[in-house]
Amino acid sequence: MLETFWETIKTLAAESAFANISWQQGVMILLSFLLMYLAIVKKFEPLLLLPIAFGMALTNIPGAELYHPEFFMTGNIDYGQVLHDGGLLDILYLGVKLQLFPPLIFLGIGTMTDFGPLIANPKSFLLGAAAQAGIFFTFIGACLLSMTGITSFTMEQAASIGIIGGADGPTAIFVTSRLAPEMLGSIAVAAYSYMALVPFIQRPIMLALTTKKERSIRMKQLRTVSKRERIIFPIAVTLLVSFIVPDATALVGMLMLGNLFRESGVVDRLVKTAQNELMNIVTIMLGVTVGATATAANFLSIETLAIILLGLIAFSIGTASGVLFAKLMNKLSGGTINPLIGSAGVSAVPMAARVSQKVGAETDPSNFLLMHAMGPNVSGVIGSAVAAGVLLSIFG
């Protein structure tokens, strides 16, 4: 009997993670601790970064078998195998793989977004478009980097890296899960970390590209937007965008559906659910499973470092192009547009608008730029979804 006892103990020991862990997995678990620290203590986008961090820890425990990257990396996924042999995170990951979670998050975001400032001043749309240039220039950057031989990104992977510049988590996950699922973990971590760093990244660029005089421009009061306009807006945007770029329909359609729920005023319970319960449920599942894709094999590579660097470049170019285009619009409109709102064209709502407000207030404390910056900010959400649609239609 004693022998059996010892045999069992030995088997348990052999199967335990202590016996089977590789140093890479150890590093990943330590890295997940860093991300947890950033999320909990430094409050870096904790709603997503915390589940991502923990998912990263869970997936790198050998023997736990919660997530099998090999199930999902083939061209034709065997869903039967996933359901039969899959662990907890494999099953939940289906929501990401089947492109379910990001559009649902967009539904929730739509119920929380007020497009009033944008409808009142449609020119803000152009700033949302300008800031998306960061996406495409980063795409070029990733391609060029690969051409030098330091990294070997395919164009699909380059497109996924580029979408980080959209500063939109769900959009980045939506595109990456389709074009470059093997990089989902790295790209999601980079995207959410940089979104938390928006104030630090944007401020120096905004200050460098604008003069004090431009920063103190007071903008005209926004007109009030009628309820009819607010209701027609989501419908019109959905139809227009999806007719031109059908691949963007999932994201833009759900965003606008949420907004229509909110503006119609007749489906208050749906709005409440979408804003709260639905968002929270999807956020939890999305976060944990995206973190789970960050296995040691996927994450610890020169590619990840390149992604982190390129992500920073993406945000910076997006900010710069937004500000520069706003300066152009300012010149053309005879000095009525404060260029600081241009940087809000990146899709990080409402952080980027807040940054515009703060930087404007540094120059002139009574300059109330926030509502003016919200216009480009929310148009950036639409802009990045359109850009995602374009990338998906080219490479998907």
């Binding site: 949302g128 996406i135 070029i140």
Partner: protein
């Protein structure tokens, strides 16, 4: 343009190496920026049109976040006296707003046969943001 790029991509899907498809690389950049701009310009135009169509009877009477208090009194027709506080940088905006509010009150009072005269304009000592503005900021900067 999107169709051409798509055709190129369908030839080598999933493993398109940039060095072999430099043309497509630049095509993507141009296509991407052009298409995003095009769509959003179209949206600008449609929204502007929408605004015009739906608001043909709309009179824009805007009110600034900071409102100075006016003290109405009886007797003479409405006259506007210059604001007492000159240190405020809202001076220029203030006169217009005071005129509008005074006119509104005067029009309102006309029905009862009253006439109003502005005796003085005093800035109400408050925080930088009024309650409505503060609520607006709070609403729009709620993290999610």
């Amino acid at each position: 343009m999107v169709e051409i790029a798509k055709l190129l991509a369908s030839v080598t899907k999933g493993t398109t190496v940039p060095s072999e498809h430099v043309d497509m690389m630049w095509a993507t950049l141009v296509t991407g920026i052009v298409v995003v701009f095009l769509i959003l310009v179209l949206l600008v135009f449609i929204l502007w049109l929408l605004g015009k169509v739906l608001n043909m009877n709309f009179k824009s009477k805007t009110a600034a976040p900071e409102k100075p208090k006016t003290a109405p009194a009886q007797a003479a027709p409405v006259t506007v006296t210059a604001p007492a506080e000159a240190e405020s940088e809202y001076d220029e905006d203030d006169s217009e707003i005071i005129a509008v509010i005074a006119a509104a009150i005067a029009a309102y009072g006309e029905a009862d046969g009253k006439q109003y005269k502005i005796a003085s304009v005093k800035r109400k000592e408050k925080a930088l943001r009024g309650n409505w503005s503060a609520a607006g900021i709070h609403e729009n900067t709620r993290p999610f």
